[in-house]
Amino acid sequence: MSKPEINLTINGHERSAAVEPRVSLLDFLREDMALSGTHTGCEHGVCGACSILLDGVPIRACLMLAVQADGCHVTTVEGLCNDDGGPGVLQDAFVEAHGMQCGYCTPGMLISAQALLAENDDPTLEQIKDAIGGNLCRCTGYVQIIESIQLAAARLREARS
């Protein structure tokens, strides 16, 4: 079995690796790159736990082969931290507003919220619901997740003004 060599940028770092074609980008990130922040849920595109940013837009990492990410920029939940490694604005807001319970869906929620807030730091409730519409949470009932995103948005607006 040939293992093509891929080169990609993950959370700002250039990485290269040889990877078997059938390996999903999700498994590659978690197992080969030891970035286990991205969660494995359903492995067939239903739950959103595996969401990452690919060249800046949110996608499901279980629905892409690692070989297809050759030449791409990938951001995982680890990439949302501050430069000092501490939690970023959005992550802080999730902690403060209780945006998680078991935490299974959280990396995906953070990625979807990050994509939204990067484009629009004053989203409506509908826009927030739409942004996280592809992420399932079995614990929170979503209300505190939405409040966390609203808190992060308010802080981003404050920092901007």
């Binding site: 059938r22 690919l54 949110p58 279980c62 629905l63 892409m64 942004a131």
Partner: protein
């Protein structure tokens, strides 16, 4: 849930795709956005010997006007089509349908051609495209042929595309500026496949006479269906709400819905009729001479 082993071919041109399909001899499969193929590989419902990745073929992506058609290349992302001013202007019905397809994470990868190749009988893009009289261009080593969508959908997940052909582009006749259109669906959750959906287009002249009508119903038969007898009754008639309601029984004569875990046949028919009424009235409302 891991795919079985396969050979991976990263195609850089359409010629390379059709060559690889030809060599694959029915055992090769095209990977576009992966939003349906990847789950099928993971669950081993599909076990191709070769996966041909077409995402790097730049010729297969883009949206443009060619003559009197809006042309969307097969590997164009659904998100790009949704954001396209050309689609909004010339095929607003398609934009309305794509807004209901999946979620941002899936639209950022999922392609217009992929949805038409998968041909789920309840999915939105095939339904809107059928209502719009679209056709697809299929290429093999033997050459290119154009197939009208009316002849393309053969059954659930079955199309007229042969194993050695790749869907290259989708061609939409440009909608007349005065046409009204509407798309309505019922799904279990937002972003899910529709249980039932209806797409309608109406054109009228200065006297309020219907000059063109299209109604397509999804999720109520093995393929998306145009309701030709209903369209015939609308064409040439002076439209109003009562007339539109009077032709709705044609739907029951034209479709054969099935029972499954999502909905029973009688329910599907009732919903199809209600959604068709809504879509036709809204399309009529939006039509201007």
């Amino acid at each position: 849930m891991k795919p079985a082993k396969f050979d991976y071919v990263r195609a850089e041109s359409i010629d390379q795709i059709v060559d690889a399909l030809d060599k694959g001899d029915g055992e090769a499969i095209v990977l576009a956005g992966g939003q349906t193929l990847m789950p099928m590989l993971a669950m081993r419902l599909a076990r191709p010997a070769t996966v041909i990745d077409i995402n790097n073929v730049t010729d297969l992506s883009g949206i443009g006007i060619v003559g009197d058609e809006l042309v969307i290349m097969a590997c164009t992302r659904q998100a790009e089509a949704l954001a396209s001013p050309l689609v909004r202007e010339h095929a607003p019905l398609l934009a309305e349908a794509i807004a209901l397809v999946g979620h941002q994470q899936t639209r950022n990868r999922g392609t217009v051609g992929g949805s038409l190749s998968h041909a789920d009988p309840a999915s939105e893009i095939p339904l809107a495209a059928l209502a719009l009289d679209a056709s697809v261009s299929l290429r093999s080593v033997a050459g290119t042929r154009r197939v009208q969508l009316a002849d393309y959908f053969l059954g659930p997940m079955m199309t007229a595309r042969a194993d050695n052909e790749v869907l290259v582009s989708v061609h939409f006749p440009i909608m007349s500026g005065g046409a009204g259109s509407a798309f309505h669906e019922v799904s279990e959750r937002r972003g899910d496949f529709a249980v039932v959906a209806a797409a309608a287009i109406i054109e009228v002249d200065g006297a309020g006479i219907c000059t063109a009508a299209a109604l397509a119903i999804g999720g109520a038969d093995a393929t998306p269906r145009r309701i030709a007898a209903l369209e015939d009754k609308l064409q040439g008639a002076k439209l109003d709400g009562a007339l539109i309601r009077s032709v709705l029984p044609e739907i029951a004569l034209a479709v054969a819905p099935g029972d499954d875990q999502h909905a029973g046949a009688a329910y599907r028919l009732r919903v199809a009729t209600n959604l068709a009424e809504r879509a036709l009235l809204e399309a009529f409302d939006g039509a201007r001479a």
